[in-house]
Structures are given as C-alpha cells and as structure tokens.
Amino acid sequence: MRWVVSSQVVGGRAYATASIEESAAAAAALNEQAGAWRALAVSFAAAPLTLQGQRAGAALCPAMTSGTSGVHPDAGGGVHVALPYERLRERCEDHARVCRDVAGQAEHAAELLIRAYSLYSEAELTTTRLVDELVQFATAAFPGHVALAAGSLAVGGAIGGSLAEGGPNGMYALEATAWAHEGLMAGFAALVGGVGPVRGLRSTDEVNGAATGVARVTAPLYALVQGDTLTVRQVESRTDVVREAHSVADALENLRRLGEERLGKIDLDSGLEHGTIAIQEYRAADGSSSWLVTIPGTDGKPDSPFGWPQNVELMSDDGERRMHAASARMVVEAMERAGIGADEPVALVGHSQGGIVAAAIASDMADRFAIDHVVTAGSPVANHPIPDRTWVTSVEVGDELVAALDGAPNPASDTWLTVRGEVAAVGDGDVAPTVTQDGACVPGTGAGEARPFAWANVADSQGDKQISHWLKYHQAAYRHATDLGSPALDRHEEHFRDVIDGKLVATTYWQGRMVDARTLAPGAPPGMTGVADAIGGGR
C-alpha cells in the first residue's frame, strides 16, 4: 500500500468568464460522452444474450443446431440460416471493452478539467462553510452529545481502518472525522470564548478569540518554565540545507529539508539544531534585493521559541498577542538583523507553526516589511488579517487536523489561493506519472497509468497510514495541483517567482533560544532581546 494525494484548488484570481464557460462546456460534453459510451458498452455486452434469445426461437433448425453459419438449402428445397453466433459474441465483447475504455478516459479527462479550472470550488466552499457552521452550532448548543458522537465516529474509524490495515492505527480516527474538524474546533472554541451558538453562526473566528483568552494564562506560565528572554544568533551550516529556490515547490522542498534536519529526521551533516530558520537574499539584474524566509514548524524542545504553547499565542485575534509569541519575535528579529529593508520584497514560507508565524508577520508587521507573498503548509491561518497586498498560497491536507484548527475554511480571493489535498491509499504498483525538470512526462504504472494525474504519490509513504501533517503530504498536494495545470495556481506561482526574482546572493541561518533572564550575564550581547518592546507588546 502506498499513499497518494489528489488536490483541488480554491480561490486565486478569477478566470475570464469565457474561459470558465468553455471549460465547463467541455467538461460537461466529456461527461455526457462518458455516459453514452458506458451505455453503449452495456448494450454491446448484452448483445450476445439478445442474439441467443433470438436464436432460441429456432432451436430445432438443423442449421442452428449444427452451429454452422451461413445459408443452408435443405433436402426438401427449404433454406435455413444461422449466424456465426460465437464470432459475433467475441466481437461484441471486444466492442464492449473498447466502449468502457473510451467512457473511462472521457470521464477521467472531465474530472481533470474540473479540478484544473476549479469549476465547482465555489459551491464546495459554500457547502464546507455550511457544514462547519452547523457542526459548530450543534457543538456549542449540545456539547456533550456532539462530543459523544464525534468520539464514536473517531473510534469507529480507528477500528475500521486498523482492521483493514491489520494493526492498530489511530490515524484513521482523524480520517473518519476530517469533515467535522473545523466545525468541532469552532464549536468548542465558542464554548471557551463564551460565544453563543446563534452568534457563532455569524462569525468564523471563534478559535482566535478563545486563543487570546487561553494565551493570557498559558503564555506567562510557559515563560516561567522555559524562560522569558529570547536570544537569537546567526549560526553556520556545514552544508547547503536551504538551496536556491525559484518556485513554490523549491521553497517547500527547502522547508522540508530544514525542518527534518533540525528535528534529526534526516542527516545532512549541517550541524543545524532546533529553533533554526533560514533567510535568503536574492539580487535582481537591476541590483535590487528581495528575500525569502524559510520557517519550519513546531519542534517542541524545552528551550525553543518554536514550542507548543507559542501556537496558542499565534492564533490569537489580538495582533500584539500574536507578535508576542517567541517564534514570531525570533523571525522578526532575524529578518531585521539579516538586513531586510522596509521596501524590499519579502516572501515567507512556513510549515505548521512556521506558516502561522508567516501569516502573523504579514498581518501585523506590514509597516515594517514589504511582505509580498506568504506560502503556508498545514497552517490554520484562515482568520489572520493578512492585507490584500500580500498574496497567500496555502496548502492543506484534509485529515491532517492542524490546518483545521482555525475552525474555518481559508478565504477564497484573487490573492488567497488554497490547495486542498485529500489522502488516499493505492496499491504498491500504482505510481503516478512524474514531470521531469525539462518538462518531459515519465508515464506512471498501474492505476497511475490508467488514470494519469488523478493523484500524486507521497514520497516514502509505503506502508501504514501516517499522520498527513508531514510536509511531504503538502508537497504531494502542491505537485498534483501543479500537474493539473490550474491557471489560478500558475498565477500564484508566477507572482512568487517575481517576488524572489534574481540570483541567490546569500543564505543565512538563525537560531533562537529561550532563556531565563536571571541567567544572563550583565551586558549580554545583541540578540538577547525581543521585538515585543519595539512593537509595544512587552508583556
């Protein structure tokens, strides 16, 4: 068993009406033809039976019983006729097979077209919002009942999936409840935040409101545990962990390398540790600089600014609270010390907490940095007030849970595009086609050949179901959306490329640590500060 992701693109710059109408007409025509050819396949498959029924009416005919086809005069001067029934049966079965193949290919082409042009994405987004609000209402109004129902669904999913897989695997609980994650989060957040069920129907940011209240308690407590002072220092890498990037896919790959290297999941011999981000400077032909900041997710180490409690602060609906999160302060400080100018274009790419940090900086530091593009992978950022000038490309996976912690689907606008991936299992021999650097297409195998580009394979995913929050799932989702040829995604990709136009000049790595202020020596070196004071949030 291997795991694959199929994607849908929501949002992005609207297409020309003519283009939408043409693609919708083509998809409808292909679907209609798929139906017609499937019906014809059934007719051809049934034809031998029909012929046999007709033949049975002349069961005593000597020509029929002899099975010899052709016209046979009999001794009495009569003429008997028999069709070559066996040959006709074979031909009809062959025709039925061709018809089924034509129908399958037409249907597959229609499906790809619908996905590429996001033809039904608005309707699906509306449905998602409706389901979210209903689940939220039910959760806020009948929390006990909903908790019981959700728990039963999760347990049932886990048991069913585990039985099918042949071993216990709790990941199936997430899969079974994926459709309700956002609504449940919003509902329970409404309870925490004191938002009534009816009032909750008119808003989408219950989680962020609740996060503000929770962070008021957890942030000071966690500061007592891990220290209240942030230190940021530039560190050297022995190897090129984050390499030159000219596309979102490149940036996501760098993000994966840095994230996994600092967690020790891979060994690139870089010497980089937890709490590390990368900042790259690109220089265009005219001499101007642009920047790409790579921000991995939560590492959960005791002295890391990317701990678990920081997520709560980052989810707050209060800008000052968001920028008080150690991870956000660390990235801002690193950006300032790297020398990013106020009017120099910046692209931020982040996974999980890294994406929330990117969204928070775009929302709250717009007067300090020119954040032109944010790429988030598996980050709950639907309610962050990111200004319109910042393009957002979000990648989310259906059952990863983390991306649904915002309790709402992402906005769909010209500048905010979301690639939504759904995970599925295929056979070991089912490999999707791949596109090489020079654009050549390497055919897939098995189902990947029969239905090319129906999905993209997740790298190194053979075996049991894993948590789909790992970045390789988002990479597969983005790759599938790219392969589909979505014009909306192409525009976002082009915008991202324009932001970091030019040649890579330098890559610097920055490491953050949380320390207790009482342990710092008097006159500590620069970097052992926070930006909270600078933005007035020194709490």
Partner: protein, 119 residues
C-alpha cells in the same frame, strides 16, 4: 373421400422447417402461423440478430461523432501543463479508438448480414 395431406409441409414442419415462401407473410413477420405451415424461425432470428447489431453500429457511429465534438472542445481550451498535454493526447487516442470501434461495429453487423441476416 380421403383427406389430402401436403406431405412436404408436414415433414418440413416436423423438422421445424418449411419450403421457401410457404406460410411466410413477409420479412420480419411475427404473425403466428398454422402448425402445419410453421416457417422455420431461423431466418427471422438471423434478421433480428442483424437488426440488433446494425442498431448498435448506428449508435456507435453517432456516439463517435459526438465524442469527436467533445474532443474538439477540449482542444480549444487554454489549458496547459502536464495533465493537459497528456489529456489531449489521450482524448485524441480515444477519438480514434471510437471511430475505429464504429467501423468495427459496422463490420460486425456486416458479418451478420452476409450470413443471411439481411435476407
């Protein structure tokens, strides 16, 4: 006075056959015939079989033409990328396969016709 019996018809009837023209009321007739003049049903079965296959061949031709129209619609889109290229390639292939299928279906009907189904 004896009863005149058409022995040829009787023998033929016992074998489920009848001389050409005897008891026939026209091609495709389903009208029940008197027992002694029952025509052999083989010719009718062949004609029905041919009719079935010829009908399917006509549908296949019509569907192939309609599919060609849908393929042309797709070819005119501004859709680009790996999936688009492969999709167009596959659609061209199934367009050709559909036209070939229509030819073959007509060939199948022709086989039935030549075996006497079109008589």
């Amino acid at each position: 006075m004896g009863i005149a019996i058409n022995t040829t018809s009787l023998l033929a009837a016992s074998a489920g056959t009848t001389p050409p023209g005897a008891g026939q009321t026209g091609a495709g007739s389903q009208t029940p015939q008197p027992a002694l003049h029952q025509p052999c049903r083989c010719a009718q079965a062949a004609r029905d079989g041919y009719g079935t296959l010829a009908g399917l061949a006509r549908t296949a031709r019509s569907d192939a033409d309609a599919l060609a129209g849908a393929v042309r619609l797709c070819a005119g889109l501004d859709w680009t990328g790996a999936a688009a290229n492969l999709c167009r390639e596959r659609l061209d292939e199934i367009g050709r396969a559909a036209a070939a299928l229509a030819d073959q279906a007509e060939g199948t009907a022709r086989i039935a016709a030549m075996a006497g189904g079109a008589a």
